[in-house]
Amino acid sequence: MAPTTLFEKVWEPHVVVPEADDAPGVMYVDLHLVHEVTSPQAFTQLAERRLNVRRPESTFATMDHSTPTLPPDAQGVVPYVTAAARRQVEQLSKNCAQYGIRLLDMDSDERGIIHVVAPEQGIVRPGMTIVCGDSHTSTHGAFGALAFGIGTTEVGHVLATQCLLQRKPKTMRVTVNGAAPRGVAAKDIVLAIIAKIGIAGGTGSVIEYAGSAITALSMEERMTVCNMSIEAGARAGLIAPDQVTFDWLKNRIEASPSEFAQMVDTWRKLTTDDGARFDSEIVIDAATLSPMVTYGTAPDAGVGINDTVPEPSTQAERNALAYMQVASGALIKGTKVDNVFIGSCTNGRLSDLQAAAEVLRGYKVKSGLRMLVVPGSWEVRREAEALGLDRVFLEAGAEWRLPGCSMCIAMNGDFTDPGELTVSTSNRNFEGRQGRQARTVLASPASAAAAAIEGVVADPRPYLEAAFAEMEA
């Protein structure tokens, strides 16, 4: 048999009807994730056609985008940013009740960002096909699942038929060899990958991440890498499942030891065969990487913390530098920072909060700077509190919020004032993404924490070295 890629091994078993010249194929969806922003119009479409949700048991919903991160007031009133936001959340609640879809509602102590809670629930598994009306669905590729974002019309298609019309995408492999230096986080690796591929370099492709620097990553770090695949234009990102994956899933799946062992036997086959061909290949040496920061208004505009902003070559790049108020030839390091945001489906998990707290411990947030720490889920929040991380953040002067997408997409009332610069652990630095005329520098949680201490874009490594030295002493 010809050697095949991991992507093909996940794709082929889900083909219900193969594609033809004049018609796309029909692809079966194992898990459909739903949130309040991209689903209401799909449910309306369903109702208009008197259709039912075909597989409610394969559908899972939560609230995250429009939800406030401040607690209810003394009367129990949830502080929605607008009545429309409240109505949207209530609409999902109604829709889920009507069609029998499991929902982590506003009162659930398991609720959180869809791409944080779905893995926590143990419902994301290797070899699955997973879709959601959300481009960061690529996160779940970290488990060796084919996971990608779809539009609302397609959300309706999946609700009605549990299938999608698809043409087979191209494949790309990004191999990150060697070991990342100390102080270089998963976020830095993926920002470096995107800087190399470009914002549209992955268009039409599914990326498989491979190499020793990828297999060395924890499950949460792998989710950070796969999460940002879309920022290089790719449909999805994939990492072959291995012992790291199985160990992570073991605590989250209800199965007898023998049942779980059987699952693992199946999952172990999900690897790319030697000699399998990709449509394109990129190789990166991890040893050359350093903490990354973005300087422009697209996620591929990233440089190492000690590198200068490159000379713009297009009008778009000149506009981006003008918008960001940065000059080519200068360092981003040292730029004044107004806000720090730690959270999102990219970097809102426990290890992200730990990395930030490790830097921040014993320091204060720079006077005048606002720092928002938003755990990705209630589970993350509880675990962080059990470790005392909330104390570290609060004592430093940061705000410790309730779970949600928050300032990553800034549609719940958490936004920055015009012109302000935010060092953010989220995924997009587009113009206005975090508020009108907001300027965003994307970075890792450790880099964001270092910026909070210094009040300027900063290198986290001196703080991390100090923490290492203390641990070793």
Partner: protein, 190 residues
């Protein structure tokens, strides 16, 4: 969905590259539960100041979409978020066609499901269109052809999406017609 066969209209040019869907419709407008009426919010932050007054010199506010239904945009149009609100906003604003040298995957898929014909042309044709705003362009979907000035160029479009656009039907009907195969597939797996 309105049928789309051939359209001749004038062009509006947005030269910016990498116009992401947050520009096409900012996230704060996504709390809607409807797909109607989003044209007001299309490119909102490009068209309006913070206090809601129209920006002086905004290309889009001088546009009459009765005569200008074709948007020419810089490369990699529609990147970023998967929000279908982006094509909903553009069609409600009055556009029927977007032409670029590169269009992001999810946006393109969403656009074609909403009667917004999204077309990728080769670099040279794209450059000409970018340099000649307010030009009459004919989009002949049946023949996969765009005509402008003395030029004519071919474009690729998924044949199935094209048939749906020409007939003015959505894609769900086709998917539902495959239901017996879907049921067999499920039975075989379980």
């Amino acid at each position: 969905m309105d049928k789309f066969e051939t359209l001749t209209s004038k062009t509006v040019v947005l030269r910016e590259e990498n116009i992401d869907t947050d520009q096409i419709i900012p996230a704060r407008f996504l709390t809607t539960t409807s797909r109607e009426g989003l044209g007001k919010q299309a490119f909102y932050d490009w068209r309006y100041e913070s206090d809601g007054t129209p920006k002086v010199g905004s290309t889009l506010d001088q546009v009459n979409t009765d005569s200008h239904k074709i948007l020419i945009a810089g490369r990699n149009f529609g990147c970023g978020s998967s929000r279908e609100h982006a094509p909903w906003a553009l069609t409600d604003f009055g556009f029927r066609v977007v032409i670029s040298s590169e269009i992001a995957d999810i946006f393109r898929s969403n656009a074609l499901k909403n009667g917004l014909v999204s077309i990728v042309v080769e670099h040279e044709a794209h450059q000409w269109l970018m340099d000649h705003p307010d030009t009459d362009v004919t989009v002949d979907l049946e023949n996969n052809t765009v005509r402008f000035g003395n030029h004519e160029c071919h474009f690729d479009v998924d044949p199935f999406a094209k048939e749906c656009l020409i007939k003015g039907v959505d894609q769900l009907g086709f998917l539902q017609s495959q239901m017996d195969k879907i049921e067999k597939f499920e039975a075989k797996r379980s």
